[in-house]
Amino acid sequence: MGTVAFLILFPFLAAIILAFMKRPGKARDITVYISCGLIVAAVVYLTVSVLSRGASFAYLTEARGLDSAVLVGEAVVMCVIFYYGFRYKRYYVVLLSAIQTIPIIWMELSGYSVEGRPRIAIDNLTIVMCLIVGVVGSLIGLYTVGYLKDYHRHHPEFPDRVPFFLSVLFLFLGAMFGLVLSASLSWMYFFWEITSLCSFLLIGYNRTPIAVRNSFRALWMNLLGGAGFAGAILYSTMVLQCATIRDLLSLGGGGRLVVIPAALLAFAALTKSAQLPFSGWLLGAMVAPTPSSALLHSATMVKAGVYLLIRLSPVLGGTMPGIMVVLVGGFTFFAASVLAIAQSDGKRVLAYSTISNLGLIAACAGVGTYESAWAAILLMIFHAVAKSLMFLSVGAVENCTGSRNIEDMHGLIVRLPRLAVVMIIGIFGMFLAPFGMLIAKWAALKSFVDSGDVLMMLFLAFGSGTTMFYWTKWLGKLIAVPHSSRPHPDTVHWDERIALGTLASLVVILCLLFPVISAYLVRPVLVEMFQTAALSVITSGDIPIMLLMMCMIVVVPIAARLLTLGKRNKPTLSYMAGVNEGDDCSFVDSFGEKKQMYLANWYFPDLFGEKKLWKPCLGIATAMLLILMVVSIGGVL
């Protein structure tokens, strides 16, 4: 219990301390390093102590005092949103915040709340989430220190608000710990609102008009989701007498009663994990410095949404809200992967890829079987690690070369070899066998095939083609070897390097460790959630083959040497129809003049561009969401 309190409260404390450390310097850096270290240590301690005792725990069945504190906290969050809403004249935000917070406060004050239920609960899923938030989040924190120094040197036009940024970052981590450790719906809701607020503050970091616009878009979309959450709390407390998700689950999947809160919570989760039609806020979030994107996309925020869906997945299976989640998630998976093809901005490609992958996780949670939930949890783990690695390396490349456009990453393997290798590992981790994401996608596919959902199988089949396309062409840009280019000065700070190195190793290590993670972390919680015997999702014979593939990737360089052994190869320039100008970067044009060669990737803006597809996608997703919400709630009333 002490560790739990530490995990929730310490980041808040660190946030307050950092908010007051206005002067840049060693003291502030060291405070961040120590805080990150302490968080990781606490998470590891919690993991070890829970796993060694091996069961789930529930705490704080009687905590009226803390309840009041949470209530005060909710009021404070509402006041902060009011403040920003009035200051920037965005009154719809004020309205959205008021209509959800005031009824909740009224409900608690008039004594409708259900007593004697635990506020805090820990099981293996909580542990998995804590590990993701703690480890990945802390590494992002470590990276931020070095990154922001360069960021403000490159962007003198933005005000230097580093203490604010660091403070919000830790606030965010604290809120995420609170969210995943809470059992009580109203506590979860409180932390849920804090994460919405934090993401709003981070996105608006630069205070430019576009940053302000995007941050308010993020805020209203998440507040709309929050309203759904609040509605779910009101209904489940006042009608169903349920205070925790566990209580809702115990009402049973087939039960008519649980459908309304399940639909509302699923709606909240879909907004939070940026599913269509609410993907706009996550795409807009990239105006902020890269660590905030990394945080939103991997360790926090969007993961809160899918976490809630996974928690709900036993009651989603086969019900209308479940069908809604599967359809919206599956459609988002496919649509976002298609939209990613037409993007050349590295961060935008990553944003679409996040949306797409979260769609898959959501769909898995919506299918609501043991198999699919297994896939969802593993996807979440692997995605958090690989995606944070990708974001951080794109940020580092941007700080070194001044561009995050994929076209400008041509020949990065020669210019910035270390960053290029890290990025290649990240891309491999995102879509290729035998790396993690693919193992989980495989399980996802199996669960869709078993559930007999043809639409999902088609989404996955076509979506995997498009996913391959946008990743491979990025990979190709990195790996091109132009002859005349020289190494670029590598200005990556040591703390950034540690973060990148650790995440890259994690991508590889997790692939080797995934059977262990599955057996000790994921399986027990699924057995508990679905009340079945443990099943092995990937056939046991396939795991050695995956490991063999891993070894082969390592062996390839040696094998390549052996295959061409004894042959003296002659270096030459690449073929340019005989008009090279002495290297492979320029050629003689039809006027007899030297011209620089430029190799571009294909983007198909006329076919897959946002201009063409964005609005239809929004339309389809909105229609699906609205119809299925109405059908699932209307079908019960």
């Binding site: 095939v449 083609g465 391959m468 360089p557 270096p571 492979d584 076919l607």
Partner: protein
């Protein structure tokens, strides 16, 4: 006993596949020549070509490329081994993608205009074939209840009876996979490619020989995939499978010689449409029939 049989099958694949692939290539060149009113080279010409390539010195644009080609051939062979060992078709699919990615990276690393254009087209071709290559194992699974090649060939009926749509879809993408006209966009076996040799422009000598060899392995694998639609418990089905494979290959040669090359957007639209209609409807049908029973 069964373990040894598996090992034997894998070894036979590794040893025999290049011969079968080379013979198919020879057969292809001869038939094509006859269709065009030429005499054509001897059947064994591809082997002479390969031997010559292996003995030639390579002109390499960078050492990295050699390594990536090594990855390509290794994973292509590995994929075949998995298949002939009776392994999981989804794993076969993932392994193919990995090998393919190595090939794409090799073409990218050359940093030449022709390789570069070729590789963009090659990626597009992969995007066209991927959905069907993933739907076919799903179809097999829904009918036989297993993704394992070993179980799929042990059924009572040839699977083409349940999966005719899948078969048509697969035949369609086979043209793209074999890089036959009208879909020989990324690189062509004929001399009328507008981008020199596309993806393989900057590969020469013994390194290029490895690519040829890998392609032969790949062809055998694709033919084996076709055979899965026919093979069943009846021993005669092996003969039927061989006949069907040869017929399909002959069909591809005909298509190659009859149709002119199309533009990329036509390939993408047609491949996805065929996959969606034939693959998707077939899948829907078998799940619906299962539902009724």
């Amino acid at each position: 006993m069964t373990v040894w049989m598996t090992v034997l099958r894998v070894v036979l694949f590794l040893v025999l596949a290049p011969f079968v692939g080379g013979l198919l290539a020879g057969f292809d060149r001869r038939i094509t020549a006859r269709l065009q009113g030429r005499q054509g080279p001897p059947f064994l010409q591809p082997f002479y070509d390969l031997a010559k390539l292996f003995n030639k010195q390579s002109l390499i644009v960078n050492r990295f490329q050699t390594f990536l080609i090594g990855g390509y051939i290794l994973f292509t062979m590995f994929t075949g081994c998995l298949f002939f060992a009776g392994g999981d078709l989804l794993l076969v699919f993932f392994s193919t993608t990995l090998g393919e990615t190595f090939f794409l990276m090799a073409a990218f690393s050359a940093n030449s205009p022709f390789s570069s254009m070729g590789v963009q087209r090659e990626m597009l071709q992969t995007m066209c074939t991927e959905p069907m290559l993933l739907l076919a194992p799903i179809g097999f699974y829904r009918v036989t209840g297993s993704f394992m090649v070993g179980d799929i060939v042990g059924t009572n009926m040839p699977l083409i009876v349940f999966l005719p749509g899948m078969f048509i879809g697969f035949l369609f993408i086979l043209t793209i996979k074999l890089r036959k006209s009208p879909f020989d966009l990324s690189t062509s076996h004929h001399a009328h490619q507008e981008m020199v040799k596309g993806t393989t422009t900057d590969l020469t000598g013994n390194v290029y020989a490895l690519v040829e060899l890998a392609e032969w392995y790949e062809q055998v694998l694709l033919m084996a995939y076709i055979a899965l639609f026919v093979l069943n418990r009846n021993p005669w089905s092996i003969l039927a499978a061989v006949v069907v494979c040869l017929a399909c290959y002959f069909f591809e040669i005909l298509v190659d010689n009859v149709f002119p090359r199309v533009k990329w957007d036509k390939m993408l639209r047609s491949a996805w449409l065929v996959t969606l209609i034939f693959g998707g409807v077939n899948l829907l049908a078998i799940i619906f029939i299962r539902f009724i029973h």
